[in-house]
Amino acid sequence: MTGLLADLLIGAAILALAAGTVTARSAFTATAFFIAYGLLLALAWVRLGAVDIALTEAAISAGLSGLLLLGAASRLAACPVAEERAPGPVLKALIGLCCAAVSAAVGYAILSLPEPAPSLAEEAMAHLSVTALGNPVAGVLMSYRALDTLLEAAVVVLAVIGVWSLAPAGGWGGVPGPIHPRIEQGPLALLARLLPPIGIVVAFHILWVGSYAPGGKFQAAAILAAMWLLAWLAGLATPPRISSRRLRLAISAGTGLFLAIGMFGVLAEGAFLAYPPALTKALMLAVEFALAGSIAVALALLVMGPPEPEDRA
């Protein structure tokens, strides 16, 4: 009963925040609503028994996206982009009706899901001992659906390449993102000096417990990226130039190692991404750590954006 009440309250708050995001007058307000929406969605994930997703939602959807969008909102307010005209009231009402119909159709699908629900939970648990992991979600990510995880890591690398390729003329090869002046005192300087050591410890903790409890590379990567971004915002850490070989290696190392281990599986076991039983744990940990590092660098670079022309400063 109290559980249902909590669900209803969380659901109502999420709906209100989503409506607030869509109807907000300024982009800044909408972003503030969106960050709160992400945090409440994390609570919804806990209620759905998906703590792994809750951590990711809070760290990436609310945290990193929030930073990215707030930065964009303030820069867009300074030099706005031409917009199309908003649709008239009749068209708006028509679109509203159609969207309501889409919602109703999805809702109907939810209500008519098959009973008993098909589930892979039994099978996932039955073979979990083979993966040498205790967290079933990590088992799915690293073993059963390792191909998805590999592709996903590749997508992040591609996104970084995509963002870099937006560098304006004269910017290619430079330092990514706007340059922040070094802040020597005040609250931000304090936080940027105090928090990263704690954050790095927390990130490694989450990465390590991820093999048997909620946590893992994505959550750890998001925290590491946030720590780098905090130091970057305070002007304490200038990111390397994007022409730097070391930076490029750092971004692609995780995906590269994953791919190499996958090919090793072809040679050793006769199937792509098959781990030899004796090496399963070691290989998975190697991939987990390498991916965490690479994704952390990539996520931070995605928030920083493409290099800007040097002469602008």
Binding site: G186, P187, L188, L190, L191, L194, L195, I198
Partner: protein, 97 residues
């Protein structure tokens, strides 16, 4: 003993919720940014502190309890730095809310 601890938990969490409610009311009703921030940070820190305090005996161990305290500490740190940052920004813009 356990009844006593449970009563303590309920009382402390309720007190924490009261501070959260008061802080939210302040955030919504106060006229300008500084007083809103004042209401928010004071209520948040105290409210979260009381909830953490109330949950401590329910954690069933020293280590989980310590984790809870660390979370409170981090929230305090974040509140203590973000509050002044927003206040500075509001003063710079010097715009009526």
């Amino acid at each position: 003993m356990s009844l006593l601890l449970d009563t303590f938990t309920i009382l402390a969490v309720l007190a924490g919720l009261f501070f959260f409610a008061a802080g939210t009311a302040g955030l919504l009703r106060f006229p300008d940014t500084s007083s809103r921030l004042h209401a928010l940070t004071k209520a948040d820190n105290l409210g979260l502190g009381l909830i953490v305090l109330g949950l401590l005996p329910q954690m069933g161990g020293v280590l989980p309890a310590l984790k809870l305290l660390v979370i409170w500490g981090l929230a305090l740190l974040a509140g203590a730095t973000v509050g002044p940052l927003i206040a500075r920004l509001a003063r710079q813009e010097d715009a009526p809310p």
